[in-house]
């Protein structure tokens, strides 16, 4: 079984990146940027989530089928939020 993962050094590098991004998102939250605060926070969160999914959850090395299973709920999540907003925003 040698097909695997980024190796322990890789895992520790990903962890370090996650810690740095956490510090960054907290630091930015003390600066008033208006709506941009939300955008930056969600952007950083999504980078962190991608790192966890790709490396810790090994999505990087999974088949297209598994990718399909992983991305389908994201599509439905967007659908639920967008669908509900399309109602509540225009009442």
């Amino acid at each position: 079984m040698k097909e695997h993962g980024p190796g322990n050094v890789g895992y520790i590098a990903v962890w370090a990146a996650l810690v740095v991004l956490t510090a960054a998102t907290v630091a930015v939250s003390y600066v008033h940027l208006g709506m941009m605060n939300v955008v930056v926070a969600l952007l950083i969160a999504s980078v962190k989530a991608s790192l966890v999914a790709l490396f810790f959850m090994h999505l990087r090395r999974e088949s297209r089928l598994v990718w399909g299973f992983a991305l389908t709920p994201v599509f439905f999540l967007v659908l639920i939020i967008a669908g509900t907003l399309s109602d509540t925003l225009f009442r």
Partner: protein
């Protein structure tokens, strides 16, 4: 053949288990998704309330808990990497660390809840705190469930159930644990940082 034949070859079994856990995680995304939707709708409707209330949360404790949970994701990943090389003792050590970090997370959460209640902030205070307690509470239940699952894997590892050639349950529980981390990665900024 002695009448006990495997239903499928190990690689197929592993692929089936992987698809199974990702399917379960899909239902989990949508379970949290309903609450996230409520968050988006009400945040747009009551921006002032969300802004004022999010300042009442302790973002330092929230950040510390984020680091704790990210650390527990690392220890799980390292544990899986260990068992892939057949190192059972190392796996057990990393799993123990992970469970300890999970307990730390819940301990800090307990402190936060206690502090909120002592200031009269409860799920009934307003919509922001309703969502705060629902989201973090549901997430906390997942952390607790993760501790039980990882505890079971730790116990079975001690019984010598896992090896270099067979450790699918370790991988599957690891995926669940990383998902719990993923949810928190979004909860932390949404509740503590941008309200």
């Amino acid at each position: 053949m002695t009448g006990h034949e495997p239903h499928m070859d190990p690689a197929t079994a592993r692929e089936a288990a992987t698809l199974g856990i990702w399917t379960f995680l899909a239902t989990e995304v949508l379970l949290f998704g309903g609450l996230f939707t409520a968050y988006v709708i009400f945040r747009i409707q009551y921006p002032r309330m969300f802004y004022d209330d999010h300042l009442k949360l302790d973002r330092v404790l929230g950040a510390v808990n984020t680091i704790v949970l990210i650390g527990s994701s690392l220890t799980v990943a390292l544990g899986i990497s260990a068992i892939r090389k057949g190192k059972v003792r190392l796996l057990r050590m990393y799993l123990s660390f992970t469970i300890l970090l999970a307990a730390t997370f819940l301990g800090i959460k307990y402190l936060e809840y206690t502090e909120k209640f002592s200031h009269g902030l409860s799920p009934g205070t307003d919509i922001f705190f309703s969502l705060y307690f629902m989201l973090t509470g549901l997430h906390g239940i997942h952390v607790l469930a993760g501790m039980v699952v990882l505890g079971a894997v730790l116990y079975l590892a001690g019984k010598g159930k896992y090896s270099e050639s067979y450790h699918t349950p370790v991988e599957i529980s690891g995926l669940y644990w990383h998902f719990v981390d993923l949810v928190w990665i979004y909860l932390f900024p949404l509740l503590y940082l941008v309200g």
